[in-house]
């Protein structure tokens, strides 16, 4: 009798005691979470295995070396329909990279202009930029891509009647044709000159900093370095006998031959992404400039710094600290938004490996895993850089 009553409540009380102890409760919750997670993963793997077996499929990445059997209209590396799925993926990655890099550059330029003009005292300019920013931020990017595409396709003329704002530049609904630079063998001299100039500029910047720290003497570093980086390659260009020529597009039959073409899909995507991200960047720039306390400027002046030094040494470093992290997440957003290319038929990662390859081979699991892996590597890479930057510039107080 006594033993039963003595033993029976004990395990319960023991368990309750564990649960009421904060330390042990943490451990119990962790174990429960881990078990739940493993169970969840286990169930998914089991289901997948059963489902794949029922369909007679096996997981494997061998299909990547098989011919892709589809065409990609824009490829910067050699590609035809007999190339492998792996190569198609590479073309997709390069296309994503191309539109992302172009988009980031254009978005930054647009954002910088719009952000500064948005602060202008000129009422008209201020309002126009306000309208742009609000339109850009409040209309879905997918819709903007479709709108730009529709505008290019429907409002620009046929190749035969194409607009030509400059010599050798033709705008038509088949794409924008521009002259293509043709490199002759001697062009390497220019590249070499650029590398040498960059190295010299880097050394000079360090040297000037040392001199200033030791003696207080100041060199006009920016002017000299700009002259070096622009001047040296220019000199090499003329010394090597102008080794870069231009290949002009010419109308032959129904379309242009030669030159370089920006296809409507690429142009629409590029403009739309830049237009959309530019609106957000404009607000960042505005906020960044407004965030810097006026007292900072006054303090710098009272130290005797000249206005442009104040800008470079006091205002910009602080504005950058406010602006750069959200700016980089905008860039990341732009890279991710470039995946919407698929709606207008621009062949990026999602359209190649995640789209046509997936549909042709039916290997959804493999294709999606590759697509996700590529995007995750990009995102993690960018956020690593961002964290490194944040650590470097963050205010260290106390």
């Amino acid at each position: 009798m006594t033993t039963a009553t003595a033993i029976f409540p004990n395990p319960l009380r023991w368990a309750l005691g564990l649960w009421r102890d904060q330390k042990h409760r943490g451990t119990i919750i962790q174990i429960m979470a881990l078990v739940a997670l493993l169970l969840f993963i286990g169930i998914i793997i089991r289901n997948t295995a059963i489902n794949l077996q029922a369909l007679g499929l096996e997981i494997g990445y061998d299909f990547l070396t098989e011919p892709a059997n589809y065409d990609i209209n824009q490829h910067l590396i050699d590609y035809n329909s007999l190339s492998s799925h792996l190569r198609a993926t590479a073309v997709g990655v390069i296309n994503t990279a191309l539109v992302s890099v172009c988009g980031i550059i254009l978005a930054t330029v647009i954002g910088l202009f719009a952000g500064i003009l948005r602060l202008s005292k000129n009422w008209l300019v201020n309002r126009i930029m306000y309208a742009y920013v609000e339109f850009g931020r409040n209309v879905p990017v997918l819709l903007q891509i479709l709108l730009f595409h529709a505008l290019i396709i429907h409002t620009l003329p046929h190749p035969r009647a194409s607009l030509s704002p400059m010599d050798g530049v033709f705008l038509s609904n088949r794409g924008f044709y521009v002259p293509q630079p043709v490199l002759e063998p001697a062009a390497w001299a220019i590249l070499a000159a650029l590398v040498i100039a960059a190295a010299l500029a880097w050394w000079f910047a360090g040297h000037a900093k040392r001199v200033q720290e030791n003696t207080g003497r100041h060199y006009p570093v920016f002017t000299i370095n700009a002259a070096l980086i622009i001047g040296l390659p220019l000199l090499a260009f003329f010394l090597a006998g102008r080794p870069i020529g231009l290949d002009f597009p010419q109308l032959k039959g129904f379309n242009y031959q030669g030159g370089m073409v920006l296809r409507p899909e690429f142009t629409a995507l590029w403009f739309a992404l830049s237009f959309y991200a530019g609106a957000y960047i404009a607000e960042l720039v505005r906020a960044g400039i407004l965030a810097i306390n006026r007292g900072q400027t006054e303090a710098a002046y009272s130290l005797g710094l000249k206005p442009n030094w104040t800008m470079r040494l006091v205002i910009l470093p602080q504005a950058m600290r406010v602006m750069v992290p959200p700016l980089i997440s905008q860039y990341l957003g732009l890279i991710k938004d470039s995946s919407l290319a698929i709606v207008i038929g621009y062949m990026d990662i999602v359209a190649t490996i995640g789209g046509i390859s997936l549909n042709q081979t039916g290997r959804a699991l493999e294709c999606m895993s590759i697509t996700l892996f590529i995007y995750l590597s990009i995102s993690l890479g960018v956020s690593t850089v961002m964290n490194w930057y944040n650590r470097r510039v963050s205010l260290v107080e106390r």
């Binding site: 819709l143 709108l147 996700l372």
Partner: protein
């Protein structure tokens, strides 16, 4: 006592009104348009730009536009302008998708009730706020039965949902479903328990690291592999699940920001009252953290709402899906610009209103300092 006679030049007496160029419209125009050389150049450029863009657009969109026609060719025969007739012809589809016409009242009721449910959440001074909050809590269930049917109402399949109805259903479900999940993830990521922290962090970083479109592709192609054989979800439900997971990761980061904004003293005060973890979170920390993160939650909702347009890529009939169907109709081919502009206006109006609201909140929350 000597009185000093102050001498003024003619027209300089302080009691005189300011000169014409220093007051009223003239001064405003001078200050805003011609204050210096840069400003004059900017004004000229801006005027030229407006002259180039606005009149042709107005001409196209209003003066030459055709509002009433049965098909595209009739539009083109009547004028060179926009053919808005397509919208008139398809307005029901753009609003309700393929929802049965005799049941539109259910959608309309759900839409009106949405605002009744939202009012006490959005504004503090609503009469009867206490009771209305209970209604807000019950609203999702009510809306579900109204839209999908059941409980004596005629059932409607998900495949019939479309147009702006679908946009709002996905947006609202996404944000409502993701709120609890987002709070849990945010708490998990701040947790000192290593495993809980890691799981939350990996989930958040994974979802934020990939584009929504890949998640939607997973929903449309992969999800069936993960489910037990024989189970079948309709596409809308799968998309809703994915959108909710997607939004919860973003919301988690927003709420984490709110939690980070709570002073340490609040946590310590809760501890010193002897409150356990969940009680201190529920009673002390979360109310404050959620309150300061409302503007950002609204911003997350805006971007989620805009992202609902992506569901067209997996084949749902949102406004863009309807526009695809419309453009494929030989009667209305080639009118994509008109349709896209109309959809853009719809999104602009709703998103702009929401962002104004979030701005208003931010101003209200910005107390002093």
């Amino acid at each position: 006592m000597k009185t000093v006679q102050q001498q003024y030049e003619v027209g300089r007496h302080p009691d005189l009104p300011p000169p014409l160029v220093e007051r009223g419209v003239v001064k405003w125009v001078r200050d805003n348009f011609f204050s210096d050389a840069t400003s004059i150049v900017l004004t000229a450029v801006a005027l030229y730009f407006l002259y180039k863009v606005v009149p042709p657009f107005v001409e196209w969109a209003f003066v030459d536009a055709v509002w009433n026609a049965d098909h595209r060719n009739e539009c083109r025969a009547r004028g060179e302008g926009a053919c808005w007739a397509v919208l008139r012809a398809r307005i029901a589809q753009f609003t309700y998708g393929y929802y049965p016409a005799h049941l539109y009242w259910r959608v309309n009721t759900a839409f009106v009730l949405l605002f009744v449910a939202l009012a006490p959440l959005l504004f503090e001074h609503v009469p009867g706020r206490r009771y209305l909050l209970w209604f807000s809590l019950a609203y999702p269930v009510l809306a579900f039965f109204l839209l999908w049917g059941g409980l004596g109402l005629e059932p409607v399949e998900s495949a019939k949902f479309g147009g702006f109805l679908l946009t709002i259903v996905i947006g609202v479900t996404g944000i409502v479903g993701s709120l609890p999940l987002g709070i849990l993830l945010a708490l998990g990521r701040r947790s000192r328990l290593l495993i809980v922290h890691t799981i939350s962090m990996v989930f958040i970083e994974f979802v934020r690291g990939v584009p929504l479109i890949t998640l939607l592709f997973i929903a449309s192609t992969l999800l069936n592999y993960f489910l037990p054989p024989g189970t079948y979800f309709d596409l809308l439900l799968r998309v809703l699940i994915m959108v909710t997971l997607f939004a919860s990761a973003y919301l988690a980061e927003v709420i984490r920001g709110g939690l980070a904004g709570i002073p340490k003293g609040q946590f310590e005060a809760a501890d010193s009252l002897g409150l356990g973890y969940w009680k201190s979170m529920r009673l002390i920390i979360l109310p404050q953290a959620l309150h300061i993160s409302i503007p950002n939650i609204v911003n997350t909702f805006i971007s989620l709402y805009k992202d609902t347009t992506l569901v067209v890529i997996v084949g749902l009939a949102d406004p863009l899906g309807i526009s695809r169907a419309t453009l494929a109709d030989s009667k209305w081919q080639g009118l994509s610009t008109e349709i896209y502009i109309a959809i853009a206006v719809f999104f602009f109006v709703s998103c702009f209103a929401m962002s104004r609201y979030s701005l208003y909140l931010e101003k209200k929350l910005h107390t002093g300092h």
